[in-house]
Every structure is written in structure tokens, then in C-alpha cells.
């Protein structure tokens, strides 16, 4: 699942650290910020102040774990984002919590990342949470991953121990069919192989972590994909209706013949008269993926939120039944017949669980007996939904931004239900 809706390729690259609790994600980022002189004088003095109040070794993690609860418990609770300055290319480092109870915060951070650093402590090796985070990166479409094998100092900088862990990591990536860019041995607390190569690890021939970030690629623009423009709202400014929304993929052009898909009125052909931009000297003639725009049509057409604009050549799919590979982070299990709300772009529809095809646990998939079928907290599963009304969609593999959806509890009065899951729409089960 590609993580981001059409980001600008000129934007800073966003990199998330993932991995199990206490494998050193925040310490690694803290050290990276410290050694690249990315912290301001005020941030440095708070870091030193926080460490004075804290007993034990100096904690670089406090540069990111700003809450006193985080510092006193030495954990990361919620996701944070810090720029890495003083480098030719701009990076935004996203620090995510490793604890299972904070998985939804990890997903919040990972959903806006372009790449990831997987941190594995050499003392503990691959843990269940390591596998789960990798599984989620795969679901979120993050396929640029650098592995940092941390805490080499605890095992005397042993090459043998590193190679053994590296082998296990390679096997796991293979099983998940995920690529990795590099596996780097380091000791975050000491800064060894973080920004510069360390003489403590003379047997390692590759680059340190920071220079290897330059190998990461910026996200590709989605301008070449089929056009998908969902109506977000209709305003009445200047007499005629002004349709607003964001181009989710492809390119929208003035005067081109387009199809307007409505849940209530079927499909109509129509042309766009203008793209209106307040304050612009020239009205734009086209808009590409990621742009929030306002348009006026050539002829009258009654449209509303959730309606879709495409080209005649690439119509959307529309169905009452969808199979979704989802990640489930609600405490209560997902059960057969359960009622939920599906949200895809600006569409919202009620649905119920028609069947739970299988659950993915780590690297194995489990098919359960019909009567035992349920998805537990933090599991990944393939689930089929029966929809109250058909939804416009695409297969996730074809158009990521309109091939993924979010699942909430049914809404109460005047409020939207809590978000309990997200996932990508499969063209056939098991083929993600």
C-alpha cells in the first residue's frame, strides 16, 4: 500500500524508525540529531536539563521523548517528527513507539513516511513486534528499508554475532517478500556508525547510517495514473456551484470530456469550464495528483460529496462486496456480521463483515474454523465486506490512493465513530 497520497517530490523525505521496545529507536534518532548538529541551543539545554534530573546513562532519546511520562519511564508513547538539519538533502525523522499498546500511533506516523529504519537490538534479535512492524510497513507500501543492528557494544562489537543476526534478518525479509537496502551494525548510544564510521567496527565495510540515507529515493508523482477526483464539498460562491476536492491520482484538464459518477444519479458526461484559484493571475488549465482545487462545469449537473470524476477511458470499479487486507487495532475482536463504516476518500458507507478469509500472523497465514473466525487486536487479516450501498474504488495495487480505506465504528449522533482499522482493497484474496 503506497503510504502517501501523491507527495511533492521536492518535499523533505520522511523516514520512520520502527522495531521492538527498547531496541533503541529513539536513542538512535536522538544521537543522529545530536551528531548532525540538528538540535538548537535551546533543545540541547533541555536535553541536558532532562538528563540531570534522570539517573543513569545519558539519554539521547530525551531529545524526542518530550513528555515527562516518556522520560521517567524511558519509553516513547506517541509519534513525533523532527527535521534533520545541516544536510544537503532535507529529512524529516519520525520516531514511533515500539510498545504494542501504541501501535495505532506507530501507524499514524508510518502512514506519512517514505522510508523506514528498522532497529534490531543484537542482544534480543528479531521479536514478534519486529515482524509486526515489518508486516505493517508492507501493508503501508513502504518498501525502502534500512536495517540498523543496534547495541553492538553489548556484545563486544562481535562480527560473528552481527553476521548471525544479519542472516536472520535476511531470512525474515525474504519470507515477507520485502526488500532491504542495507544492514548496518552500530552502537547508537556511543554514536558508532551513526553519522561517521567507527574504528570500533573495523570489519564492517559499508557506510555509516547517515550517509546511507542519501540512497533513499523520493516518492514518485502519481500524475501518470488514471484520473480520480472525488468531490469533497459544493460551495455556492459567485452564483454557480463551485465543486471542491483533491485530485487523488492522475491529471484533470479544463475542456476535456470527463465522466461524473454519482451514487444517486448514475453517470453523466460533462466538461470542466475552469479551475478557479483565488488570487492567481492566470487560471490553471490542469491540476495533478495531490492538488486541492475548485472547479466550475460547462453545464448544469447536481453533484455532492463522494461523487467521482474520471476520464471515459479509465472508469472506476463499483461493487457491493469488497475484500480488504486490513490491520486491526481495536481492543475488541472483529467478528462475523459485525457492522462498521467504510471510508474511502470522501465516500462513507455502512458495511458488515461477510467473511474472515484468513489471519496473517508474523510470516504465516492462518485459516480458522468457520465458527472461531475473528480478528484480534494488532492482527493483519483478509476480510470480505458486504456494503449497504456500492462504493467507487480501485484495486490497491493499481491506484493506491483510491484503493485503500479506513474502517470506523458505526457513528453516533452527529459524530464519526472511532477509527478501528485500515486496509487495501485486494483484486483477489492472497494476492497482495
Amino acid at each position: 500500500m503506497r503510504s502517501n497520497f501523491s507527495r511533492s517530490t521536492a518535499s523533505p523525505l520522511r523516514i520512520i524508525t520502527v522495531g521492538d521496545v527498547d531496541h533503541g529507536k529513539s536513542t538512535l534518532l536522538g544521537r543522529l540529531l545530536y551528531d548532525t548538529h540538528s538540535l538548537s541551543q535551546e533543545q540541547l539545554s533541555s536535553l541536558h536539563l532532562a538528563n540531570q534530573a534522570h539517573r543513569g546513562a545519558f539519554e539521547f532519546a530525551f531529545a524526542l521523548d518530550a513528555f515527562w511520562e516518556e522520560q521517567s519511564r524511558n519509553i516513547t508513547m506517541d509519534v513525533t517528527e523532527v527535521p534533520l538539519r545541516r544536510s544537503a538533502r532535507e529529512y524529516l525523522m519520525i520516531d514511533a513507539p515500539g510498545h504494542r499498546e501504541f501501535l495505532k500511533n506507530m501507524i499514524t506516523g508510518a502512514s506519512r513516511a517514505d522510508a523506514a529504519i528498522l532497529v534490531v537490538s543484537i542482544r534480543d534479535g528479531i521479536r514478534e513486534q519486529t515482524e509486526r512492524h515489518l508486516q505493517l510497513l508492507k501493508l503501508l507500501g513502504i518498501d525502502q528499508i534500512i536495517v540498523a543492528v543496534n547495541k553492538l557494544d553489548l556484545l563486544d562489537f562481535s562480527q560473528q554475532a552481527f553476521e548471525q543476526t544479519a542472516e536472520e534478518i535476511k531470512t525474515l525479509f525474504n519470507q515477507l517478500a520485502l526488500p532491504y537496502l542495507r544492514i548496518i551494525p552500530l552502537a547508537a548510544r556511543l554514536g558508532a556508525n551513526v553519522v561517521t564510521k567507527s574504528p570500533l567496527l573495523p570489519w564492517y565495510e559499508g557506510p555509516a547510517l547517515f550517509p546511507s540515507l542519501s540512497e533513499l529515493k523520493s516518492p514518485l508523482a502519481e500524475e501518470e495514473k488514471p484520473l480520480r477526483f472525488f468531490i469533497q464539498d459544493v460551495y455556492h460562491v459567485g452564483g454557480e456551484p463551485l465543486l471542491v476536492g483533491r485530485v487523488e491520482s492522475g491529471t484533470l484538464r479544463v475542456d476535456e470530456e470527463l465522466l461524473f459518477w454519482s451514487q444517486h444519479q448514475g453517470v453523466c458526461s460533462q466538461r470542466i469550464r475552469s479551475i478557479e484559484e483565488w488570487g492567481a493571475t492566470h487560471a490553471p488549465l490542469s491540476a495533478t495528483a495531490g492538488e486541492s482545487i475548485a472547479i466550475r462545469l460547462q453545464g448544469p449537473l447536481s453533484l455532492q460529496r463522494g461523487d467521482l470524476v474520471t476520464t471515459p477511458k479509465h472508469p472506476p470499479l463499483q461493487s457491493h462486496r469488497l475484500v480488504v487486507r486490513l490491520f486491526w487495532f481495536e481492543k475488541k475482536n472483529l467478528c462475523l456480521q459485525q457492522k462498521v463504516i467504510l471510508r474511502l476518500a470522501t465516500q462513507r458507507v455502512g458495511a458488515s463483515v461477510a467473511s474472515i478469509l484468513h489471519v496473517v500472523e508474523g510470516t504465516t497465514s492462518i485459516v480458522m474454523k468457520e465458527e472461531e473466525r475473528a480478528v484480534h487486536q494488532d492482527q493483519v487479516a483478509d476480510v470480505s465486506f458486504q456494503l449497504e450501498q456500492p462504493l467507487f474504488y480501485d484495486f490497491h495495487q493499481e491506484i493506491p490512493t483510491t484503493g485503500r480505506l479506513l474502517i470506523t465504528l458505526p457513528a453516533g449522533e452527529e459524530q464519526t465513530g472511532e477509527i478501528i482499522a485500515g486496509g487495501g482493497i485486494l483484486n483477489a484474496p492472497y494476492s497482495f
Binding site: 497520497f5 507527495r7 511533492s8 521536492a10 518535499s11 523533505p12 538548537s40 541551543q41 535551546e42 533543545q43 533541555s46 532532562a50 534530573a53 524526542l64 518530550a66 513528555f67 515527562w68 511520562e69 508513547m77 506517541d78 513525533t80 517528527e81 523532527v82 527535521p83 495505532k104 500511533n105 501507524i107 499514524t108 502512514s111 506519512r112 508523482a221 469533497q232 464539498d233 460551495y235 460562491v237 459567485g238 463551485l242 471542491v244 483533491r246 478557479e276 484559484e277 483565488w278 488570487g279 495533478t288 495531490g290 492538488e291 486541492s292 475548485a294 460529496r305 487495532f329 471510508r343 479506513l406 470506523t408 452527529e414 459524530q415 464519526t416 465513530g417 472511532e418 477509527i419 485500515g422
Partner: protein, 273 residues
């Protein structure tokens, strides 16, 4: 699309989602640079109109130049402006025993009473359920952990222990009685992004941000506790150049942030922006 276009589109999308979701919406506006970017984005999002009122929490310690800008902007843009002052605190009326002032109280207390409590009073007096703010992640380590749509209960508490998940631009709208949602469209913008956008769009801002006699204000708040920085930057491009090389934080001149460890966490947990 360049990076500013991307940020602009993302913020406009968030503003439009907020306008769709909240029947009673207003926008905090403090006359500062971020506030004026928010106002500009509002005009872009709604075809040149400003469809919700602006709210200024007036601490009575505003710089006179800022008040002059407030009057000018109201005339220039023609928006609906609500000015809220915690008068009971300033005059020492019940439930306060003595007037709250910088002369008699510490910055954390004054900030809490004249900003957070003033906002609380306003929200109790008026049934707004959506409040647009201009906070950014890079301003402060606790703001870095915020959401675009951030719920607050009736006591204004920020439940940072259990924030809702937020991804793929789907936002949660909870309207329990007395609660409200903070809508934060500028979270992704950095201080330099703001300046580059102000320059590109030629957005009017108070001239206190530009150097006069070797000093300028990098961040603006209450006059007794806001300090200028040494600077010769009298144009936006000079400011951007300065920011690219400064070793200091944006809010280093704001006393309430630095009064004690975790000052911002304490302020924000109780409802400060």
C-alpha cells in the same frame, strides 16, 4: 507541485474537511505570521470568502503595533472578528481574589489565565465545536506529537496518553457534550516554509518581524515576556537566510516556554494551544 504547493493543498484539504464536519467553526487569529498564513489559506480554500469568524484572545498585554495591524486587517479583509478578554482575571473579580498580571504573577500562571482560561470562557459562552489553530510541529516538542484533528474534552484537557489514530487524511469528529476539536492545518509547515510562503504570496504581516535598530521579533506574544532577537534582517529573504543558520529555537524569546522543565507540556495538557 513544489513543497509549498504540497503544503498549501494539504492545509486547504484540512480546512475544507473542517468546514464540512463542524456546523459551528471559528479560527483563532493572533495577528502573527502563522495566523496570517491561515487566513490566506482560508481565502484560497473558500473561493476568496472567509466563512467563519476569527477569534482573538486579547491578553491586554498586546504590542500596540499588533493592535494597529488588527484594525488594519479587519478593515482590509472584512472578516468577522471576535475579541475575548478574561476581564475577571485582569480586574480581580470573582472567582479571582486579586488581578492577574505579569507584574504580580509568573508567566506560566498569566499565560494560563489570560489565554487558556479566556478561551475556555469563550467556548462555554458560545457553542463552537471546531476551533482552527495555527500551531506547527517544529515549534515545540509536544506540538510535534499533535494530530490535525485533535479532540479536547469539556475541561479542555489534551488526552495525549491516548490520541486517535490519524492516517490517509481521514479525520475523526467527536462531539461529546462540551467537547471540541482543534483543527491544526499548519502542523506540517516549518518556520522557513511559513516565511517562503509569505514571500511567494505577498501576505501582509506586522512589521515587528523585520529588523529595526539591530533587533527583530521572531515570535510574538505578550509584550512583557516576549523578547526580540539580535538581527539585521529587514527583508523576508534576509530572514530566511538568518533562519537557515541560526543555532536558536523559534520560541527562545517566549518566557513562558522556558520557566521550568516540561512547561509547555503542563500548559498544553490544560488546554493551551
Amino acid at each position: 507541485m513544489d513543497h509549498l504547493d504540497f503544503l498549501q493543498s494539504q492545509s486547504i484539504y484540512i480546512l475544507r474537511e473542517a468546514y464540512y464536519a463542524f456546523p459551528k467553526l471559528c479560527m483563532l487569529w493572533s495577528m502573527g505570521k502563522d495566523s496570517n498564513v491561515l487566513l490566506w489559506l482560508t481565502k484560497k480554500a473558500f473561493g476568496g470568502e472567509i466563512p467563519y469568524p476569527l477569534l482573538h484572545i486579547d491578553t491586554t498585554y498586546e504590542f500596540p503595533q499588533m493592535l494597529a495591524f488588527r484594525s488594519w486587517a479587519q478593515e482590509h479583509y472584512g472578516f468577522e472578528l471576535i475579541i475575548k478578554i478574561n476581564k475577571a482575571a485582569r480586574f480581580g473579580h470573582a472567582p479571582y481574589r486579586t488581578p492577574i498580571s505579569y507584574e504580580t504573577h509568573d508567566p506560566l500562571t498569566v499565560t494560563h489565565e489570560l489565554k487558556t482560561v479566556a478561551l475556555q470562557q469563550f467556548m462555554q459562552e458560545h457553542p463552537y465545536d471546531g476551533l482552527i489553530t495555527g500551531i506547527r510541529r517544529d515549534e515545540d516538542a509536544t506540538r510535534a506529537k499533535e494530530r490535525y484533528f485533535s479532540p479536547r474534552d469539556a475541561t479542555f484537557r489534551w488526552n495525549y496518553h491516548n490520541q486517535p489514530p490519524e492516517f490517509w487524511n481521514q479525520f475523526v469528529v467527536a462531539t461529546h457534550p462540551g467537547s471540541h476539536t482543534r483543527i491544526q492545518p499548519l502542523l506540517d509547515w516549518s518556520e522557513i516554509d511559513i516565511w517562503r510562503y509569505l514571500e511567494r504570496e505577498k501576505i501582509p504581516i506586522p512589521n515587528m518581524y523585520f529588523a529595526h535598530g539591530g533587533k527583530r521579533y521572531r515570535s510574538l506574544g505578550c509584550s512583557p515576556i516576549t523578547h526580540p532577537i539580535e538581527s539585521e534582517a529587514s527583508t523576508i529573504s534576509a530572514i530566511i537566510e538568518e533562519l537557515l543558520h541560526t543555532p536558536h529555537s523559534e520560541r527562545s524569546g517566549r518566557a513562558q516556554d522556558h520557566q521550568e522543565p516540561y512547561a509547555m507540556q503542563k500548559l498544553r495538557a490544560r488546554g493551551f494551544l
